[in-house]
Symmetry: C2
């Protein structure tokens, strides 16, 4: 499995992904699921992958190769985030056309969270389904998740609105990952995190949290202690 989150805030975007891939419990590995296409001053595009590794890697390789060869419409040329999302979708469908019929059991099952900003437009955040269609984060639902989403959802619901600052949102997302990894072996470190500041048009805040990371451990401990204290102070139930 996988756990990826993208969040749209008034002040920017947060992206986070785990790094565990597996085919059964005795065959797991680490792969970074965060891909960044960045041209400072012009565009920042972030792609978080979930689903079959063969599928997601093929889509990313195709996008990169098209960028390098300047083949047809590329992510470097897309005039809007909507156009860019359609290029990701096109690449997915190209891979599906090539591989889909050979994948009898699962079909092409790669999907993505895709977001960023292109100079001249506002930030956008999409979730692109395996079929290549996509939805966009909204005022009502500012975040999108893929993979093992349930364990880590309530903490985001409690902690984040569009008005939340980038740093507080980052803490909340890390707690969401901590909660998920404590419950589910299919989601694992390292965690890749980007906080993108609106209109900066470059990635200034990026961190990788590997097993044993001091900050991540401290965050988990202080969150546990803090929530136990909140429980203690909650009003007592009259029977």
């Amino acid at each position: 499995m996988t756990y990826c989150v993208g969040i749209m805030l008034d002040t920017g975007l947060v992206f986070a992904s785990d790094s565990r891939t597996h085919a059964g419990v005795d065959n797991f590995a680490r792969f970074c699921k965060m891909t960044v296409f960045e041209r400072p001053g012009d565009r920042v595009l972030v792609l978080l992958s979930s689903g079959s590794l063969a599928g997601t890697q093929a889509v990313i390789s195709l996008l990169k190769q098209r960028n390098e060869r300047a083949e047809g419409a590329t992510l470097w040329q897309a005039a809007s985030m909507f156009d860019a999302a359609m290029l990701v979708s096109d690449a997915m469908r190209d891979v599906d056309r090539r591989d889909g019929e050979y994948l009898e059991e699962t079909g092409f099952n790669a999907s993505f969270i895709f977001g960023g900003q292109i100079a001249g437009g506002p930030p956008h955040l999409f979730r692109i389904y395996a079929e290549g269609n996509f939805i966009e984060a909204s005022l009502e639902t500012p975040y999108l998740q893929t993979g093992e989403t349930k364990y880590g959802k309530p903490v985001i619901d409690w902690g984040i609105t569009r008005a939340t600052g980038l740093n507080d949102a980052a803490k909340c997302v890390l707690v969401s990952f901590d909660s998920t990894m404590r419950s589910n072996l299919s989601v694992g470190m390292p965690i890749d995190l980007i906080c993108y500041q609106r209109n900066s048009l470059e990635v200034r805040m990026r961190r990788r949290f590997d097993a044993g990371d001091g900050y991540f451990a401290r965050l988990g401990d202080e969150w546990s202690a803090g929530t136990r204290e909140v429980f203690r102070r909650l009003p007592r139930l009259d029977w």
Copy 2:
């Protein structure tokens, strides 16, 4: 779907269940999923149901009828909680023998959380699978869930150990239900809650929380405010 939780504490047991049953989003209803067999001073047995309503109701009706008719071994006569759990299991297999072959698609899919105390023995807490075999809560894992378990799990992991008091555990369980119901329409009010005090051999703390319950609403609000404050105080991330 359903959400049920049973927790084994040093000082007693906590049981909670939601009340929503459904067959598709346009066909849902309220049914209490908590059944209590109580003879004050002798035994308290609590059964939380999940799975097919026809299946769980048949098992409970069979257990009740056997109690009333004093037919064979009954829950009133079981000498230990282990014996009692086996009687629930036997009733499940009896229903499966009768109905299973007519349920081609799903089979018999009722399962239970079952716990309580019988005079002369300690409290026990079991999860009985649809097959009739069962597991028991332990020191390492003091709680058992069924149904839509993921959303509400982290909050129990943070908040509850065997040493947690009954009242604090009750608050934690209610927050766990609140988190689940905010994310999943298949779990719904009212919530039935029992806190059973070890060695009391009667149910002294039982509450039903229906939509609009003032305490439940206040709990959710104060929990949200409290956790946001914890996020604010968590150490800031250095990039």
